[in-house]
């Protein structure tokens, strides 16, 4: 149901029935390794191209999420997913394997929450019984498409972010036990005129703040309502800028814990990832792996995940266009409803 200007409230309690996360070797060396279902030792996943490796990541995560939900793919009505590849081939090709009626979505790195919000809305409105939502990214395929060949010896500036190799999937259902998706806020596209593709955190921070502000306004709540608010992949620089903007707009974020998925998945000291992590897979695996595990353990009761996306293409930045950005927020709660 519409709430306020741009939010949905899910009064019928869509349940997160099953989730799965599959990551690559580099993520397996990070501090959250224990939260992932499958950690691959081979960046290629035994495939012969990066693109096939990415598709395989997604297939594995999707199949495992359905399995963890105690279902077969025949019971899943719809599959909503997206990724960063041109024409979202990873998701579409995985949908070919899964043979579930499919809607491809693109919100760059905000796809993880975009797909979850749409899936929850389908289930909430009784348009579906079970919906699969997913997002994925692969470090090498993204480097190849957006930047340079993976083995090219260029120096990355300290603002650069490292794309996560990972796929996260969840099955949202009408009934059952589990964490519930309670609301979502769909973001506006915000463009502050930044043009540096090696500093996307700074470009995305205003979009994240705008969506958080809209969410708080639409539901007439304060940040303290949540135990934790996380943004998708702002990383160090974007995170600092988000704090600056919260202060400027007088949003009392100090009431709660605010963190960023892009700063959680890697060890800055050991893994040398410049500003932090990025990619569709970043917020997907951190949320579906680490954060939901913390909720299941009872450490967190209500969280707001604000996945952030930079909607640029290799062509648009070569033509000197600025980077339009977006953020979608989804709140996940355990226990009683508001």
């Amino acid at each position: 149901m519409l709430q306020g200007h741009q939010s949905w409230i899910f009064e019928n309690k869509p349940i997160i029935k099953g989730t799965a996360t599959v990551v690559g070797p580099f993520e397996g060396q990070g501090p959250l390794a224990g939260d992932f279902d499958i950690v691959h030792g081979d960046l290629m996943l035994g495939q012969d191209s990066w693109e096939k490796a990415e598709k395989t990541l997604l297939e594995e995560a999707s199949k495992l999420a359905i399995e963890n939900a105690g279902m077969t793919s025949g019971q899943v009505n719809f599959y909503v997913g997206g990724d960063l590849m041109n024409q979202i081939i990873s998701s579409s090709f995985a949908a070919r394997t899964l043979a579930i009626p499919y809607l491809g979505v693109f919100g760059a790195c905000s796809t993880s929450m975009e797909s979850l919000a749409i899936a929850a809305n389908f289930v909430n409105s009784r348009s579906a019984k079970n919906v699969l939502a997913s997002a994925c990214s692969h470090n090498a395929s993204v480097e190849k498409q957006f930047r340079y060949p993976t083995e090219y010896g260029s120096q990355k500036p300290p603002t650069a972010q490292y794309t996560v190799t990972g796929a996260g999937a969840s099955v949202i259902s009408q009934d059952g036990e589990g964490l519930t998706v309670t609301s979502a806020t769909i973001g506006r596209v915000i463009d502050m005129g930044l043009t540096d593709p090696f500093n996307m955190g700074a470009a995305m921070a205003p979009a994240a703040v705008d969506t958080i502000q809209a969410h708080l306004r639409d539901f007439r709540i304060e940040p303290g309502y949540y135990d934790l608010i996380v943004t998708g992949d702002l990383s160090k620089i974007g995170y600092e800028l988000a704090w600056d903007l919260f202060e400027k707009h007088k949003i009392p974020m100090k009431q709660t814990e605010y963190y960023d998925c892009g700063m959680m998945i890697y060890d800055y000291e050991k893994q040398k990832v410049q500003a932090g992590a990025s990619g569709c897979g970043c917020s997907a695996v951190v949320t579906y792996g680490h954060l939901l595990n913390r909720m299941r353990r009872g450490e967190l009761k209500r969280i707001l995940v604000v996945a952030t996306g930079a909607l640029l293409s290799p062509l648009s930045f070569q033509q000197g266009e600025s980077i339009p950005c977006i953020a979608h927020a989804v709140s996940i709660e355990s226990g009683e409803k508001r």
Partner: protein
Amino acid sequence: MSNNSKKKLTPVQQEYKHLAKKREPARPVIKNCIRAFLVGGMICLIGQAITDMFVHWGGFDREKAGNPTVAVLIILSVLLTSLGVYDKMGQWAGAGTAVPVTGFANSMASAAIEHRSEGLVLGVGGKMFTLAGPVIVYGTVAAFIVGILHLLFNPSGVGGH
């Protein structure tokens, strides 16, 4: 281009741009220069050693030894690229590994490896020069301009080669 887009920015965008600039960590220019000097110098030193070897044991004269030296450096660079080492060196050394001939070889080898999956013609053949192409094009253009200048100001052709 950047000036053009700056003019079009609204005051709010400009204010944010300033803020973002402030939060951006400065590139460690001095550190980068020192590293580039050391690594670039080291590569040249190795090159010199190879040249001397060719002169000493290979029977080449000083001038002719340059060609096999470059070939050896290129092979080394391609090997290190294939083994996945060169890009890690590049992150540490910056321009030190990018400027010498080894950097040029790396740009071609890395593109060839990366696009192998699109086939030998459209992938390797077509994409090999995506990074190296501009260097060749503008290198040739620059040589052409220098050549004309040389002709204009030194028509007798005395000096230089």
